[in-house]
């Protein structure tokens, strides 16, 4: 391949890796919104929390794989506790109160993170087996990014299997379209809500943990991941998983090529894209409701 083509392909893979990470965060966000009507402002904060957990476990055990396994689960547990003790309490007050609770949680998580780990950027070391470069067809590419793409694909494939092939998945999909009806059919929707919230946070946690070595772990991480994930959810349409998938990949590529061609405008491109989409489709590309 010619050097230019190599560059384009490298950027495309960069974009794919970031897009997959975005979708990991956004899928939980859009599912929680679709089911419970809660816009979880703190979603990316949990991802950040997971990245810090990952750093801490790695520091204590020295085993990256164990850190990758434990950190998202810890974040998920935090999510479940949040849902059970905070969100469920204000559920009867309406969506606004739930939204505001998540704002408070975001502020608290940010401060907790600063308190325990300080404000500087922390570097998460990746193990030998993932740190090298790989050669194929004249292209040298860092293995870790390929690993991110692979891991995200596996996790998302697994989630898709659960969502579309199991009874639980059927209940969740039904609850996304009409939670009251599902509840009327005798299904314990609060339990399902709690579960979905936990899984959503877990997915975000996986994203946060694997993003740690890519972005470095710092208190502004939640803002960066969070805003991008919100744009994905808004543009893809609230509650639409397919929409979120397409938009996440598109934004990943937009971001990668934007950085290459117009570095200064790259962060703005995304919002411009969102404004254009919303000007014509206020409910997002694949959304069915506001």
């Amino acid at each position: 391949m010619s050097p230019t083509a190599v560059l384009y392909v490298a950027q495309a893979i960069h974009g794919l890796a970031y897009g997959m990470l975005l979708f990991l965060v956004a899928s939980g966000l859009t599912m929680i919104f679709g089911m419970m009507g809660i816009l979880n402002i703190a979603h990316a904060s949990f991802a950040m929390l997971s990245a810090y957990f990952c750093y801490q476990v790695l520091l204590m055990t020295g085993n990256f794989w164990m850190a990758l396994l434990i950190a998202p689960v810890l974040a998920g547990i935090c999510g479940v506790l949040t849902e059970r003790f905070l969100l469920r309490t204000v559920h009867k007050q309406g969506h606004l109160a739930e939204l505001l609770i998540t704002v408070g949680i975001m502020a608290v998580i940010l401060e907790i993170v600063k308190f325990f780990w300080g404000t500087e950027s922390l570097v998460v070391k990746i193990p030998q087996s993932l740190s090298g470069l790989v050669n194929f067809a004249g292209l040298t590419y860092p293995i870790y990014r390929l690993f991110v793409i692979g891991l995200s694909t596996v996790v998302l494939g697994f989630m898709a299997l659960i969502l579309f092939k199991t009874r639980l998945g059927k209940i969740v999909r039904a609850a996304v379209s009409d939670a009251d009806m599902v509840s009327a059919l005798g299904i314990n929707t609060p339990l399902v809500f709690m579960l979905v919230f936990g899984i959503g946070i877990w997915l975000a946690g996986v994203a946060g943990a694997v993003a740690g070595p890519l972005l470095t772990v710092f208190p502004g991480m939640a803002d960066q991941l969070g805003m991008d994930a919100f744009v994905v959810v808004v543009v893809g349409g609230f509650g639409s998983l397919g929409g979120a998938f397409i938009v996440a990949l598109f934004l990943g590529e937009l971001n990668a090529y934007g950085i290459q061609f117009i570095p200064r405008l790259a962060p703005v491109l995304m919002f411009a894209f969102m404004a254009i989409v919303l000007a014509f489709k206020p409910m997002g590309l694949f959304g069915e409701r506001e």
């Binding site: 009507g37 007050q93 109160a97 704002v103 502020a107 940010l110 401060e111 919100f230």
Partner: protein
């Protein structure tokens, strides 16, 4: 009759407190007080959207910050720019931003409105961060001096004197608050509340919904811009993290909620509580965000109607 008398006494007391405040409390608390009133105005404009129109503006800092930047840029680049136009420029800039965004914002409500405003707030934040020729990037704009208040042929008051500035800032903000107070009492103000309570009915009655929402949005943007402008004059420094960041967007939400959403004076009380709390907490710990966040969560959990709501409930229970 007696009620009216009480009201006049209350106004008189407030006026006297405002007048003698800098003489009694010293310069630190004078600036502290100006900060409180700036955020009171800012939180009131947020509440005009949240409490009166029923939509949550999550990126309200974009209006505040645009106003602050407009004033700072005007004072830096234009030699001898007078004081009152400097404040007006902030209001116009905030209103203009609201006007530009209104075609998109009036089409959505509920969570989508919150998301859109959040996203636009971030867009403005990133733009201000990247275009450092205009905004100074992360360092912001500083070093401009506050021009004297000139009334041609009558008087010229030096605004670098902090006590003079206090009276100027308080006058601007009180006038703005009064304008907003009367604004909510006009038929148009009632129309805005009607849109919140039953938009479809307002539509059937023949009112133009998008226009109503847009005008309210522009009013809020303009007055938030004025608040930002006075903030820029007080701090003599405008930087992205100080006036445009997400914390600046969330602060008025917390104030409005703590004070009481839907009551005009709630956010003012909320701003006071918020500032006093901050002043108190900072003596013991650096973790202001943690304390604020925790208190905010507790308020949402247990006092959803805020302090004004709590006061009204107590009054209803004990005095009737």
């Amino acid at each position: 009759m007696r009620n009216k008398l009480y009201k006049w006494i209350l106004w008189l007391v407030i006026f006297i407190i405002l007048a003698v405040f800098p003489r009694v409390f010293g310069i630190y608390y004078t600036n502290f007080f100006v900060g409180f009133t700036i955020f009171a105005l800012y939180a009131v404009t947020l509440n005009l959207l949240l409490g009166y129109m029923g939509v949550l503006s999550f990126g309200h800092a974009m209006f505040f910050g645009t106003g602050a930047y407009a004033t700072a840029i005007a004072l830096t680049h234009i030699q001898g720019f007078p004081l009152l136009p400097a404040v007006l420029v902030g209001g116009v800039a905030g209103g203009l931003l609201a006007l530009i965004l209104s075609p998109l914002l009036v089409r959505v409500s509920g969570t989508a409105f919150a998301m859109l405003t959040l996203a636009f707030g971030q867009l403005i934040f990133v733009l201000a961060l990247k275009y450092r020729e205009v905004t100074g990037g992360e360092d912001g704009i500083g070093g401009y001096s506050v021009p004297p208040l000139n009334i041609p042929g009558v008087v010229s008051i030096d605004m670098t004197d902090q006590i003079n500035f206090y009276y100027f800032a308080i006058t601007v903000i009180v006038v703005c608050l009064l304008i907003l107070w009367f604004y909510t009492k006009t038929p148009f103000g009632s129309l805005v509340v009607g849109v919140r309570d039953n938009a479809m009915r307002m539509d059937y009655l023949g009112f133009n919904l998008p226009q109503t929402k847009a005008i309210n949005l522009i009013v809020c943007g303009a007055f938030a811009g004025i608040a930002g402008s006075v903030h820029a004059l007080l701090m003599k420094l405008v930087s992205t993290v100080g006036v445009l960041d997400i914390g600046t967007s969330f602060a008025p939400i917390m104030m409005a909620y703590i004070g009481g959403v839907g009551s005009f004076f709630g956010p003012i009380i909320g701003s006071g509580v918020f500032h006093l709390l901050e002043d108190l907490v900072i003596r013991f710990t650096e973790r202001i965000g943690l304390v604020n966040g925790a208190i905010f969560i507790l308020v949402v959990l247990f006092v959803p109607m805020g302090l004004v709501g709590l006061f009204n409930a107590a009054k209803a229970k004990w005095f009737h």
